[in-house]
């Protein structure tokens, strides 16, 4: 993926530049980063397991057909539900959304799906909770969910 090579290049450049300026500080930074990663490892593992189980039993085709079947109010609710749970990276979701629009899906359903997908993360909640705490993480998801709904519906009605 080109996305990954940019990230790897950026990381390597950051390490080199940092090391040229101050080697000790760089080592300290790498150690801190490693420690943070180790602390979060259980949450990331949990995310991995949950996602692979879900993707095995709820195949991607079912997500697309679930989005395509309903329209109107029910379609918006289904889109918001799938968008909140699903974990689809941008490079995959936009071609898919473009295809759905070409096949006549309503802009409202598409925009609600995309905004909830971007703003709400039910599956990634364990990771979020570790940083924000239970209450702030829950509140963020709830408020962002309604925010995403509002944005999505407004975009749909403008277009």
């Amino acid at each position: 993926m080109p996305d990954d090579s940019i990230l790897i290049a950026l990381t390597l450049i950051a390490i080199i530049v940092s090391a040229v300026i101050d080697r000790r500080k760089t080592l300290m930074g790498l150690r801190r980063g490693g420690k943070m990663l180790l602390n979060l490892l259980p949450q990331f593992l949990m995310l991995l397991v949950i996602v692979s189980v879900l993707l095995t039993f709820v195949p991607r085709e079912a997500i697309v057909s679930g989005l395509g079947k309903q329209s109107g109010g029910l379609g918006v609710i289904v889109a918001a539900g799938i968008g909140s749970v699903a974990l689809v990276p941008g490079p995959i979701v936009y071609p898919l959304a473009g295809m759905l629009v070409e096949n006549g899906m309503s802009w409202t359903v598409i925009s609600v799906f995309i905004t909830t997908l971007m703003m709400v993360g039910i599956l990634t909640f364990p990771v979020e909770k570790a940083y924000l705490g239970l209450r702030l993480a829950a509140l963020r998801n709830i408020l962002f969910f309604f925010g995403a709904l509002i944005i999505g519906v407004l975009v749909g009605s403008v277009l």
Partner: protein, 179 residues
Amino acid sequence: MIKLPHLAFGYLITLVFAVVLLGLHIGGFPVGYRLLEEFTAFSSRLLIFIPCLFVLIGLLDVWLPQQWIQKHVGEESGGRGVFFVVLLAMFQGGPLYGAFPVAHLLRKKGCSMRNVFMYLGAFSTLKIPMMFFEVSFLGLRFTLIRAMLALPVFIIIADLMSVYARRNGLQMKNPGESP
């Protein structure tokens, strides 16, 4: 008596997952291979993203001067603070869960709670790399309207969240402190 080592829930789930996979393999159920396939597909993506992310955050942690953060995106930063965090978020990429460690680092260095949530809002809706994809597949009109509507919505949400956090004395957690 044998003392059981403390095992985080995430490790426990992974262990159960591995045992189930092994059981399915021995039992000859093909669904085990689907599970393993999905697991390796997703983990191969995380295997690059997560280490890079934490290397960058570690370096940011040692280089980002606390005074600068406090002054420019801290409690007294006002509109300029919003501008800075939104700009920072726009030039990033990747999934939202990658933003939480950065948000935490910003808070630790003295960024205001309101600006932390502003950052998360901008990160989820205004990332430039993501919007490139959006423009090419859904059009410029859709992207611009969506982005323009998103900005006021997450500014309001950030205000609500910071007020709620202050009233209830809520702070962000430090995942580095608890095992």
